[in-house]
Subunit: 111 residues, 4 copies
């Protein structure tokens, strides 16, 4: 999807050398997976509601619930990025770059 998915990672070689890449969310990976699975189920629930011609307002309420759940996931990722990726960045340049990336992500969430 994202064209950035294929770009060369900040850590360069490290990415290919390591089977145990550390991400900001590594410690919470299981919980994160569960949350995303539940969000997927919520989206399917909305599809069912539409199929069944449910009242628009009820559909909207479920969409707001999904957005709240996504916000929670996003905030967890931001938290992990600041606490781990940025904190453990090897050097000033790397930290600067990760902070710039973080601000882009936070800007997309806020606007």
């Amino acid at each position: 999807m994202s064209t950035t998915d294929d770009r060369i990672p900040q850590w360069g070689i490290l990415k290919d050398m390591s089977d145990t890449r550390i991400r900001g969310y590594s410690a919470d990976k299981d919980q994160l997976g569960k949350r995303l699975a539940r969000i997927e189920g919520q989206v399917r629930g909305v599809q069912r509601m539409v199929d069944e011609d449910r009242y628009c307002i009820d559909v909207l309420q479920q969409i707001s619930a999904i957005q709240a759940a996504l916000n929670k996931v996003a905030l967890g990722l931001v938290d992990g990025h600041v606490r781990h990726c940025i904190a453990d960045a090897g050097g000033e340049d790397s930290r600067e770059e990760m902070t710039t990336e973080l601000m882009g992500a936070v800007g997309r969430l806020v606007s």
Copy 2:
């Protein structure tokens, strides 16, 4: 999910009499279904990204894309509700109530 799903509908009897209930989104039901199916796929894509230990910022970017897609769906539902449900409400009381429900929904989207 929502406790409001089971409440007695505004239209009362009408709901049970009719197999072709009109909702604000009825005209766009196919398009709406396709959008939701695509959003479901995007959520699965994020799960895969987490499984593959993708970079936090890239995961966040995909989550923002999902939120934008959900906002679009939500705005379409609001539009349909105003143009059809409220416009066709049978009587002042019904319109008032639907507007109150609308404002609750818009308030949840905005905050």
Copy 3:
């Protein structure tokens, strides 16, 4: 500010003929004015905080409070627009146009 401010109003001549134009917010004009005055005071408060080198996080908290207050004002305007302007629109075309304008406004609030 907005280039739309100077455009010819939907109501055309009516605007110039009437000293008592009805807006969606007319009934709540006093309360709306008070809320905006308080928001103006909050913005000045943030300026003072910056002058006094207050902690970033405390400044951010005040900005979030202003945004919540602005959201409340905006939702009140949307509510009034739906309940009065759209409900009282003289004819289908006018209602359609006002709904399109409304959706533009809601879209800007949501995104």
Copy 4:
């Protein structure tokens, strides 16, 4: 306004000892002040619009412009906090605490 304004600062004594406290926004203080002054002017502009019974949708457009400007200010403060306050935090505990505060602030902006 905020009850947090009067709380004992994280830095304790340092606050009172120093006339040149560094904040995340110190380098951009002038620009920040100008932006806030402009936002104050925008809020006054909205008050005028209401006084003059301007069309709801035009008022809403101006409110959205103010919210966008406030978001920009908020993101600048978040950026400065991450780049300066957290980066320069003296020790792990202080950094953890500042990150927790940051996440509270970002959470308020996002939701």
